[in-house]
């Protein structure tokens, strides 16, 4: 009986059907999902960003995976260029960490391309200077290493929130579990990059520079332009329960205990800063 149920989930028809009925459910249930989606205020909208995401709005699961693939393209290219730049101190922890993450992000690209098949999208053209705001791959830029670390942190923390924001769209499909498996890898990356950056800045015990996010604090040395990545993370209400009131723990501790989702729209806006076309 279970095997039939399992096979049934693999037909694209049931995938579409389920996705839409989940959507209806989400609409009815209200507060929770909406609260999750409301959060971040966009900090800048690249005019070309909407073109870069060829989302098929008729199917939430496919749209979710296309968004995921675009974010993975961004990360994969970023780490490859970072490793090629000569900016990272060679032979140390940073290089090992970037290599490991690079391997995963490139694997995610291939995995999602394969999973999407005919619905796959091409990589946008990226500009990691964000129109001249950063110069992360230039070894002659004294700030390049700091910018490589800051951008990596912003990309990883965004990735965690963006995958989480798409989970509902993948419910009832065979893509949910692999997406969760990528999501937690992004979270491991985020934790390590945050801690590496803290180490470089000599901020290892700074509450705002640990592996987890405190309130909506972007952390020491993070450019203000990255604030949208953290807006909404200060939430302390889960399932309608204010956990500061319920547990007596501080808002800092409660906010650290839960990562908040990010809507596809906000994720696109953030990625859009680095997309040329």
């Amino acid at each position: 009986m279970d095997i039939i149920k399992f096979l049934d989930e693999f037909t694209s028809e049931s995938l579409t059907k389920k996705a839409s009925s989940r959507r209806a459910m989400l609409g009815n249930l209200g507060s929770f999902g909406k609260k999750a989606a409301m959060v971040a205020v966009p900090f800048g909208l690249a005019s070309t960003s909407s073109k870069a995401f060829a989302q098929d709005n008729g199917n939430n699961a496919i749209g979710a995976l296309q968004l995921a693939l675009t974010l993975e393209y961004l990360e994969a290219e970023f780490y490859i260029k970072a490793l090629d730049s000569g900016v990272l101190p060679s032979g140390g922890r940073a290089e090992a960490v970037y290599n490991q993450i690079s391997k995963h992000e490139s694997a995610h690209v291939t995995f999602l391309q394969t999973g999407l098949g005919d619905n796959s999208v091409d990589s946008p053209e990226f500009d990691f200077t964000a129109g001249g705001a950063f110069d992360p791959f230039n070894p002659n830029n004294d700030m390049a290493y700091a910018q490589l670390l800051a951008l990596a942190q912003a990309f990883e923390d965004t990735g965690v929130r963006a995958y989480k924001g798409q989970a509902g769209n993948l419910m009832g499909t065979q893509f949910l579990t692999p997406a969760l498996q990528i999501h937690s890898v992004e979270a491991r990356h985020a934790s390590e990059i945050r801690r590496l950056r803290a180490d470089v800045l000599n901020e290892n015990t700074n509450e705002n520079a640990l592996g987890w996010i405190t309130l909506n604090n972007r952390g020491p040395g993070m450019p203000e332009a990255t604030q949208a990545v953290y807006d909404g993370e200060e939430n302390v209400v889960q399932g309608g329960v204010n956990l500061v009131d319920a547990t007596g723990f501080s808002a800092e501790a409660v906010s650290q205990s839960y990562d908040e989702p990010m809507s596809g729209e906000v994720a696109q806006q953030i990625a859009g800063l680095f997309i040329v076309s």
Partner: protein, 247 residues
């Protein structure tokens, strides 16, 4: 919501009425007797024993549907919270460097907050009798004065938490619960990476090749596998069953 089809007697609490049915469980679902107390049965079969509601004093069953999965998560969070409570009472933590001290203190906070959340959330979505009771744990195999013993255990618990939530996501029916599980699992993954990073020598251990596969995917394990692994640690003293979890 799926109707629970089996009710199972608590094997060790009282003799089974019918030894034939026990064999049936073994055959069909893969009975996993885990560690000192935790009993896990296969949960989906067409067996139709119509046992009455559990009597007081019987072994608790995690239940079915989303409540069952929430109880399952609650059990794991109870375990983690109890562990870090002991860590913060131990001499390794008292003498640890500032960074390790801070990390472990945060992990304690987070796991206790998760535990209390599940207690409240299940209470709000089910009868009081369906909420997993407070479990008893035995950490006598961990040396809380020893860094390696503490961090090795923390690593196992955090990686297990990640794999458990990743595997349970598809079993949830309510979108709100899936989002909540997602909010928690990424924090568990952040923990796992930090513990691995401070404990293991390898600079890539935070997301090491021992757990992340060639597709760049983290572990995902079903409740039976997780409960059997947790049982094997011997940490869980209180018996409970997982006979009706969705599969």
């Amino acid at each position: 919501m799926e109707k629970p089809r089996i009710k199972v007697d608590a094997v060790s609490a009282k003799p089974l009425k019918n030894s034939k049915s026990r064999r049936k469980f073994l055959k069909m679902g893969g009975l996993a007797v885990a560690g000192s107390g935790l009993l896990l049965y296969g949960c989906s079969s067409d067996d139709d024993m119509n046992n009455p509601e559990p009597m007081p004093g019987e072994v608790f069953d995690l239940g079915s549907g989303d409540v069952g999965i929430l109880n399952y998560a609650y059990a794991l969070e109870q375990l983690e919270a109890a562990f870090y409570t002991k860590v913060l009472d131990g001499s390794y933590w008292a003498g640890a460097n500032a960074e390790e001290k801070k990390i472990l203190e945060d992990l304690y906070d987070h796991e206790v907050i998760h535990r209390e959340f599940f207690k409240a959330a299940i209470g709000a979505n089910a009868e009081a009798s369906q909420v997993l009771p407070e479990l008893e744990f035995d950490f006598s195999s961990v040396n809380f004065a020893d860094r390696n013993s503490v961090l090795a255990t923390a690593r196992v618990l955090e990686d297990t938490g990640v794999a458990a939530y990743n595997g349970a996501g598809r079993l949830l029916q309510t979108p709100d619960f899936l989002v909540i599980a997602g909010k928690i699992v990424s924090v568990e993954a952040r923990h796992a990476a930090a513990i691995r990073s401070i404990y293991l020598e390898d600079d890539t251990a935070f997301a090491g090749d021992d757990i992340i596969d060639s597709n760049g995917l983290d572990l995902a394990k079903d409740p039976q596998t997780i409960l059997s692994e947790v049982g094997n640690t011997g940490f869980v003293v209180t018996e409970f069953t997982a006979n009706n979890l969705p599969q």
